[in-house]
């Protein structure tokens, strides 16, 4: 188990270098001069662009730029944005906010999704099950920004129950509505996944055996059905944590949350290499760790899976 975990952590090193190199190259290859574009239709006095290009090492070949960035990284310097802020400051601001949003979203989709999915699976074909299927189908087919704008309009503008946008320091309370919007699609998938898995397991041999042993229905469902049904759900949640951490551009835009998605998007449009790469590097690490946790959880959930040497 330890050996397995260690091996997986060591694998992060080549993944890290490969990902940063590729991303840096992609940002480098974006067409146009990012510094010239900062000035819009009016070029600054001659020389201004050259001075700034030199300041950001943009006048050097790609490979030199990349190595300067990596060397800086090992000295704890993530580079600076074109507005002159250290990228480490930007990360320290954006990641905690996105992390709070992702955790809330994950909690919502896990708790509500599994609960509703379980009930629907146990009452297959009944009204509750049918409604759950219709609602989840709706959530899957409607784009997130529609759900976002509608909830913002209803709860923020019309009912006034929530703030229309999230204020600067993004307290937990204000993030509830955005988290629900962010989680809506995944929530629908989890309902459907849990429901299918539960109804499959209900007719499995081990459930019949457990019932035949005389266990209470409650215990059969809790220990035998639910636990075994969670394996695919946990896989989904693990991958989704990564997606929630990095893919919230739309939700962040609607609720004016100053998080990771929007920051990376802006940095890409500005061609701001160090910002994009630093953020992506952290995201890659989050993804890898989330996947590792999922693999380890399998063993806990399903006794048939063991990680040997």
């Amino acid at each position: 188990m330890l050996w397995y975990t260690g091996k997986r952590i060591l694998q992060m090193i080549p993944v890290f270098f490969g990902a940063t190199f590729l991303i840096y190259f992609m940002v480098f290859s974006l067409p146009g001069d990012p510094i010239a574009a900062l000035y819009g239709d009016r070029p600054p006095a001659p020389g201004v662009i050259e001075v700034i290009r030199a300041e950001y090492n943009l006048d050097k070949p790609f490979i030199v730029q990349y190595f300067l960035y990596i060397i800086g990284l090992f000295q704890g310097d993530f580079g600076t944005t074109y507005s002159g802020r250290p990228v480490s400051d930007v990360m320290a601001q954006a990641f905690p906010i996105t992390a709070r949003l992702a955790i809330l979203a994950l909690l919502f989709e896990a708790v509500a999704g599994i609960l509703i999915g379980l009930i629907a699976g146990l009452r297959k074909g009944k009204l509750f099950d049918a409604s759950a299927l219709v609602v989840s189908l709706l959530l899957i087919s409607v784009p997130t920004f529609v759900v976002g704008f509608v909830l913002q309009l209803v709860f923020g503008v019309q009912l006034g129950w929530a703030r229309t946008t999230v204020s600067g320091d993004a307290p937990w309370g204000e993030l509830v509505l955005p988290a629900i919007v962010l989680a809506s699609v995944s929530f629908a998938y989890i309902v459907r996944l849990t429901r299918a898995s539960v109804s499959d397991n209900l007719s499995a041999d081990f459930v019949r055996t457990a019932t035949a042993k005389g266990l209470s229905r409650n215990r059969v469902v809790r220990v035998h059905v639910l636990r075994n049904s969670l394996v695919p759900v946990v896989t989904f949640l693990g991958v989704d944590l990564g997606a929630l951490m990095v893919g919230a551009i739309v939700t962040e835009g609607i609720f004016n949350i100053n998080g990771v998605g929007g920051t990376v998007y802006r940095a890409v449009t500005l061609g701001e290499g160090p910002t994009v790469v630093s953020f992506i590097a952290v995201m890659v690490i989050i993804f890898v760790i989330a996947n590792l946790l999922v693999d380890l959880l399998y063993a806990a959930l399903d006794p048939r899976i063991r990680y040997a040497k």
Partner: protein
């Protein structure tokens, strides 16, 4: 050029154009009110994270501009109509429009109690112009004698040239200060321009001409985080600027200029999208919004009634046909440009695509600028006239047949696709040719092809005025060799009229010359005018006296609340 972030329906995107507004066109204040309001009330309004630290000479975009304009007072400031009123200046005078004598009022201080003197201005301007400081607004000082010495003017001895064939510049600047700026005493200084400019004082309300205290030059980076100004507002203590989030300004008790605030301060909240800001003003979290998102253009006037603003701004939109393309130079090009211009139904497009938030163009400036007119000789070329368009196009075809696909290039990150498609459709339908939009993924990508003469068709062009003058709409864009004259238009007649205008003895004479110069442009059409952008804004019923200035920014100091 003020650049601002323009929101698409979902994402805010960098674009070269901006939203702005006016005072000259008819437009009543959103709600006139006798009440003076609560003098300590804080007005909340929308903004965007400044591109750089808050140094006036490095602030040429609207996000930072609305902050530096509030915390600094220059020699003059602008009224809603774009006229200048003296702030720190007692007088700005010149005999020959070339050597200007500036006298300052006594008693002005920065918020650290340092007096505002001649040196405060001269040191700030020299800092802004110096090559090594790479300030984005350095070009504002390029007409002051000695500017070329503080820029790097020595050619690389190896003879290296850049992509455009200009010599690469190396070495240190020849001078640290501009010789055209001379201190006479603490409250008097003289400015010598390299060529006469009758309306030079009109420039001085622009934020780049703000004075700086001595503390700034000790550590400019730190100063930019917590600037010390002399304007109607000041930062609400250290760290009032929370990056990517907001900035809090409070009234400066020592300020005694023409923009004395009627409120207690400003909370400028940075939005990544205009949609989020609009939701906030609907939800009661925001008092004043100066940019309505595209998604609400159809409804905002009904929804906010007399609290909505929709009036022309100092923004001119057009598209240009490069002279280096076959079919687009000489007599043939001239005919084709005139045909294109008359093939576009500007009225319909501004109505349908922009819901009346654009005003069809009748010249090359803007209705908020003194001297704007719809009666220029030859302005009928800007009317929709399909018969005439077809006739001119056929005449051009007689010179050389055109069987290419016509295109207009635009940057996809700026929300331009809808109108480019409408314009190319209008052209295609009228002239019976194939026409389409050509999309570049980012503004940077389109700029690169444009600056390097690599376009394959027309290109979107736009201009937002830095200061309210016709000269600012004409010289940078169409003068031979000018910085933003990317398509290399060159007309001796136009250049001469422009020069005569800038040296004219009176503003009336200057205006006449600039109008004459535009009549040359109407014949040549180096740029095919489309429309003027309007400023669209709304205010909540918590505030009164919301008036938008000529530059599209609300006059924050006169807003009352409570």
């Amino acid at each position: 050029m003020k650049k601002s972030r323009m929101g698409l329906s979902v994402l805010a995107l960098l674009s070269a154009s901006a939203l702005a507004l006016t005072g000259c066109a008819p437009g009543e204040p959103a709600a006139e009110d006798e009440s003076t309001g609560d003098a300590s009330a804080i007005i909340t309004t929308n903004g965007s994270e400044p591109q750089h630290s808050l140094i006036p000479t490095n602030t040429t975009e609207s996000g930072g501009g609305k902050i530096t304009t509030s915390i600094f007072a220059g020699l003059v400031s602008y009224t809603a109509e774009g006229e200048i009123e003296n702030e720190v200046a007692e007088s700005i005078e010149s005999e020959d429009a070339k050597t200007w004598t500036v006298t300052l009022k006594d008693g002005w201080t920065f918020t650290n109690d340092e007096p505002v003197t001649s040196d405060s201005f001269i040191d700030a301007w020299n800092y802004g112009a110096l090559y090594d400081n790479a300030q984005s607004a350095s070009y504002f000082f390029d007409n002051i004698v000695g500017f070329s010495d503080v820029q790097n003017t020595k050619d690389d001895p190896s003879g290296a040239v850049d992509e455009e064939g200009n010599p690469v510049q190396v070495g240190d600047p020849l001078a640290e200060t501009m010789s055209g700026l001379q201190v006479v005493d603490d409250t008097t200084f003289t400015v010598e321009l390299s060529s006469p400019e009758a309306d030079w004082p009109l420039r001085l309300g622009y934020t780049a001409y703000s004075p700086l205290p001595k503390a700034a030059f000790e550590d400019m980076e730190a100063f930019g985080e917590n600037p010390i100004g002399n304007g109607p507002y000041m930062l609400d203590g250290e760290g009032a600027w929370v990056h990517e989030e907001k900035i809090n300004l409070v009234t400066n008790p020592d300020y005694d200029g023409v923009r004395k605030p009627a409120n207690g301060g400003l909370e400028i909240i940075f939005y990544a999208t205009q949609d989020a800001a609009y939701a906030d003003i609907e939800g009661g979290n925001l008092d004043v919004l100066d940019a309505v998102p595209d998604s609400a253009l159809e409804t905002f006037e009904d929804q906010f009634g007399d609290r909505a603003v929709n009036q022309p701004a100092a923004i001119f939109q057009a598209f240009n046909m490069p002279y280096y393309l076959p079919h687009w130079s000489g007599e043939e090009g001239k005919l084709r440009r005139a045909a294109l211009s008359q093939a576009i139904n500007r009225e319909e497009i501004t109505d349908v695509i922009f819901q009346g938030t654009r005003t069809p163009a009748t010249d090359f400036t803007s209705p908020v600028i003194d001297g704007w007119t719809d009666k220029l000789e030859g302005a009928e070329v800007l009317d929709y006239n399909p018969e005439e368009a077809k006739k001119l196009w056929a005449e051009a075809d007689a010179i050389a047949p055109y069987n290419e696909t016509f295109s207009i290039a635009y940057n996809a990150d700026g929300g331009h696709q809808a109108w480019v498609d409408a314009v190319t459709n209008s052209i295609a339908n009228t002239l019976g040719i194939t026409a389409e939009g050509k999309s570049y993924p980012t503004f940077a990508a389109s700029l690169e092809d444009r600056a390097n003469d690599k376009l394959t068709g027309g290109v979107r062009a736009g201009w937002q005025a830095d200061y309210p003058s016709m000269y600012n709409f004409l010289a940078p864009l169409y003068q031979t060799g000018a910085g933003s004259n990317y398509e290399d238009y060159s007309s001796e007649e136009f250049d001469n009229l422009l020069k005569e205008g800038s040296q004219a003895a009176s503003v009336e004479d200057a205006t006449a010359k600039y109008q004459e110069a535009q009549e040359v442009l109407l014949k040549d059409l180096p740029s095919i005018p489309l429309w003027y952008s309007n400023v669209t804004g709304v205010s909540a019923d918590t505030v009164d006296n919301v008036v938008f200035g000529w530059d599209s920014v609300p006059l924050y100091h006169q807003i009352t609340k409570g």
